[in-house]
Amino acid sequence: MSEDYVLELEHIRKEYPGVIALKDVTLQLRRGEILGLIGENGAGKSTLIKCCSGAVIPTSGKIKINGKEFTRMTPAAENGIAIIYQEFNNVGELSAAENMFLGRPILKKNGIVIDRKAMEEEAAKAFEQLNIKINPRTLVKNLSVGYQQMVEIAKAIQQNAQVLIMDEPSAPLTTNEVESMFKVVELLKSKGVSIIYISHRLEEIFRLSDRIEVIRDGEYVDTLITDKDPATIPNQVDDLIKLMVGREMTQKYPPRKPCVRDEVVIELDHVFGNGDEDISFKVHAGEVLGLGGLVGAGRTEIAQVIFGSRPKESGRIIFMGREINPKAPREAIDYGIALLPEDRKRHGALLTNSIKNNISMPIYERISKGTVIDSKTEKHTAERYREDIQIKCPSIHQLVKNLSGGNQQKVILAKWLAAQSKLTIFDEPTRGIDVGAKFEIYKLINDLVENGVAVLMISSEMEELIGMSDRIVVLAEGKMMGELQKDEFNADTIMSYASGVIPESKKEAV
């Protein structure tokens, strides 16, 4: 052992039924270094962290801490690993000190009563070490987000963590808070703590890290040594983006006849609302408009505004030539808008209802005389779409919860086909769906546009975005970063836009 590694992950693999989350990831963390970890959405970063924390047990692979081997991690804290998640694990109603000693309070000599004073003193010491000014008695809910994060970091330090894993730590912070967080991180490094820093913001990675590891599709790709010379950074960014996205586009997409028409189905004109700012785009009949960006870029949010499930603040939505202002999904559906949400199980399918009921749900009032359902039409509709799009099920009376992910997605699609929508919004249409079913979903999207439906497709999968879209609009932090025509499609450009960087070649154009 020539190098002094605190944490080593060797050939970590994690399989879930039907999905491989991690194929083969190796990671080595030196004592007192900051390692940047980057990868696209779904590359496996979160799963990897969970393997370190013990929340996920790897299918195979080794975890070594200070050279000592583990096949799985149980209470990570005892092994000196602490994780700062995007969502904090604080209890707002308790004080900063109480939060730091949550679950392992300091007791008075009698062993029953909590020694609040001792805890507050210890907390004060920890804060002092980090050069932060927090009164240990302040309730956590009264602290700013930045300070709440500091309480978590202080807790980790108080527990003598040697390894700190930070998952998108800057995401919830304001610019000033980010600066203070950087200072704390650098201070920790100087004290010999090793840090894995995960972020989509590449400039942060360059500023902080000593080395940068890239993973893609659950596999280790490469590790680069960070060169902090500002002159070389643009080149390094390009290299990293290539590494993150860089695979060959091997996956086949079903061919589609050119079918984009001139007719504009929906136009957003400077729409503000639901966290998004100044969004303008058009979708034509027979066109797939891809909506690219990172998680949290505001793509789902704009879809919710169009679908009427979240209010619009200003701007105009023009649908089929007239301005609409849907206040509820029912209104949007009646105009002819459909939404296939990202979280199928929570928002899409009615799991405890039958396939038949799911498919007819938006059209019951249409297929009823008075309030009485025309059960023949109801059955025919379900049977027809079961045939048409080949929902694999023993009968239409089967409950949707018993279907596979791909077939659930088909049921949701069938419901919107039955509603004869003119605009269909897909939010991550193939997330969690296996490769075979993906191809079928792509074919169904093609069928839709070939029949003149307009499709708005939100996707975090670069290949899918490029393979399926006619045009792509990229969002970052609730704002439009750019629009790409088919001949401009390029994973690097999209990735730069999504990271909030406008590439050199595009600067004058925007």
Binding site: R330, R346, H347, L350, T352, N353, N357, S360, M361
Partner: protein, 331 residues
């Protein structure tokens, strides 16, 4: 496949088997249990539980609860009697007005639950207290007697309902069935119709399964909540009128704790308190089981206190079975 189907049908109707076994046990210990007067008596007793249980079924199907129905019944009793006896209103008008009032109370519940967002258990508990108080205030805490005997039309209606036995016997025809039981049967038919044939039923099941996905499938969830609590109020109001016709005097203390008995019937009938699952036929069985349990226990001279213990146990066991089977499915 065939066997599975059989098993499924058996499982769905297992509750009826419980009912049959129960009847058999009571009949074994007391042969009079199956006598016609007793059966008629039971049917009369269960009728107002049955009627109110329909609204409660809808409410529980969407994972809600309505604790106000006992108070609604008391208030309907007092108001209806007050209008007839003290204000000398026409009977039908008094009935219609008091049922409309019950519907309004239901709408108020719906408003608190859907628009304000108060948890159903608290919102309806609040209206339970409020409207019980209103009933006391209006009646001064005293019964309004003589509804049956002194009011010309209602008296006849009620006597007919109460004494059908003699009337039909003297007419020498089919009818052994009390009117209130007929009302209950009609209500169950309407309830089954709403649940199985109208799109409202589909919506109720969908909302009970997943509110968010229902809204995104185009169901106006809040509107449906208003409708459901209004229906619960309506059926409670109707049950109140039936109770008034039976008791003959309006008591502001009527139907205290009634909601819990109705919840027992509904849950026993297989409606999941988590929402989304349940059938009207199961609820009918639940109502009959509780009704005959009470009657049977009275005939066996079981004390009222013991009856309470038994009923509580039945509720716990019924919900326990529901939750246990869910737990097993989940793992």
């Amino acid at each position: 496949m065939q066997e599975n189907k059989f098993a499924a049908i058996f499982k769905q109707n297992a509750i009826w088997l419980v009912f049959v076994v129960e009847i058999a046990i009571f009949a074994y210990f007391n042969p009079k249990f199956l006598s016609i007067p007793n059966i008629v008596n039971i049917s009369r007793q269960v009728s107002y539980y049955g009627i109110a249980s329909i609204g409660m079924t809808f409410v529980i199907l969407i994972a809600g609860i309505d604790l106000s129905i006992g108070s609604i019944i008391a208030l309907v009793n007092v108001v209806c009697a007050y209008l007839m006896m003290n204000m000398h209103w026409n009977m039908w008008l008094a009935i219609i007005v008091s049922i409309l009032m019950a519907i309004l109370i239901g709408i108020l519940n719906g408003w608190m639950v859907a628009s304000i967002g108060i948890p159903a258990i608290i919102a309806t508990f609040a209206s339970q207290t409020i409207f019980r108080g209103c009933a006391y205030l209006l009646s001064g805490g005293l019964p309004i007697p003589g509804v049956v005997l002194e009011h010309p039309t209602f008296g006849f209606f009620a006597r007919w309902a109460l004494n059908r036995w003699e009337i039909f016997k003297s007419m020498g025809t089919v009818g052994l069935i009390p009117i209130c039981a007929i009302i209950m049967v009609i209500c169950f038919a309407v309830g089954s119709f709403i649940l199985n044939k109208s799109y409202f039923g589909r919506y109720f099941y969908a909302i009970g399964g997943n509110e968010e996905a229902s809204e995104l499938s185009g169901i106006r969830v809040n509107k449906m909540k208003y409708l459901i609590y209004a229906l619960s109020g309506f059926f409670a109001g109707l049950a109140g009128i039936v109770l008034l016709s039976r008791s003959g005097s309006a008591q502001s203390t009527a139907a205290i704790g009634f909601e819990f008995e109705v919840i027992t019937c509904v849950v026993l009938g297989g409606v999941s308190v988590a929402g989304g699952i349940g059938r009207m036929s199961g609820v009918i069985a639940g109502v009959l089981i509780i009704g005959s349990l009470k009657s049977g226990m009275i005939m066996m001279n079981v004390s009222e206190y013991t009856q309470m213990v038994v009923q509580g146990l039945v509720l716990a066991v019924a919900v326990g079975i529901d939750c246990f089977s869910k737990k097993r499915q989940a793992s």
